[in-house]
Symmetry: C2
Subunit: 133 residues, 2 copies
């Protein structure tokens, strides 16, 4: 577990740990099963921890998967929208942010007086490794 996981509650730390250990997206229910031995009994225990972790930016929710993934570089994405490339074969997630992309979306929002609160950018497909295999 990285130092990013400081000052988390027990449940939050367990959920974050499970996500980090796996490395690929996990559903809340998969996390729950993973943590039964640590005393987890109910989905809500997972969802509550996830809410906080997402709030803090330690975990991202992938809308197109209904799943969650540990953030790879919590400090790198200040300000810009984050995009995800998700391999449908191996589950690997690449996280990136692109200034031009962010400016483009902000630009549209500005021009239309739209006030963004949360933005989702997800590319599903095949990663380099999996499209060769």
């Amino acid at each position: 577990m990285t130092e990013a996981a400081a000052d988390l509650t027990r449940n939050q730390a367990l959920v974050y740990g499970a996500l980090e250990k796996t490395g690929t997206p996990m559903s809340a229910y998969t996390i729950l099963d993973e943590l039964r031995d640590d005393g987890f009994r109910a989905p809500l225990q997972v969802y509550r921890a996830l809410d906080k972790l997402v709030e803090q930016g330690l975990v991202h929710r992938l809308e197109s998967l209904n799943a969650f993934v540990a953030c790879r570089h919590a400090s790198c994405h200040r300000g810009g929208f984050i995009a995800f490339a998700i391999c449908d074969t191996c589950g690997q997630v690449s996280e990136f942010s692109d200034d031009a992309l962010s400016r483009r979306l902000s630009g549209w929002a500005g021009k239309h007086s739209f006030k963004p609160s949360k933005t989702t950018i997800e590319i599903r497909g095949l990663c380099a490794g999996c499209s060769n295999a």
Copy 2:
């Protein structure tokens, strides 16, 4: 109903009609309730119709809402990724596509040998009208 809805089966036409009439996103179950009087009984009847409509580009799935919306301009978005701005207050959806945006995402994919199959771009927030009110 617009001319776009030609050569649809009865169920597809009913589902498309419900979405078009409402104008804002609807969940599959809301559509189901809307169509009970037309003989719909089960979710699958809705989901099957939605699958085909999405395939044909007449309807879009909004991942961040688990909902569906009738496409506003089926012919306008050839080639580029489509982005959605979704107002969390009134539910209004603005659909747009932006060449620079598309190039940016394609560029990232090319550089990383990632083969995109489906892309989701959704901005949640407040539309001009609702942020004034």
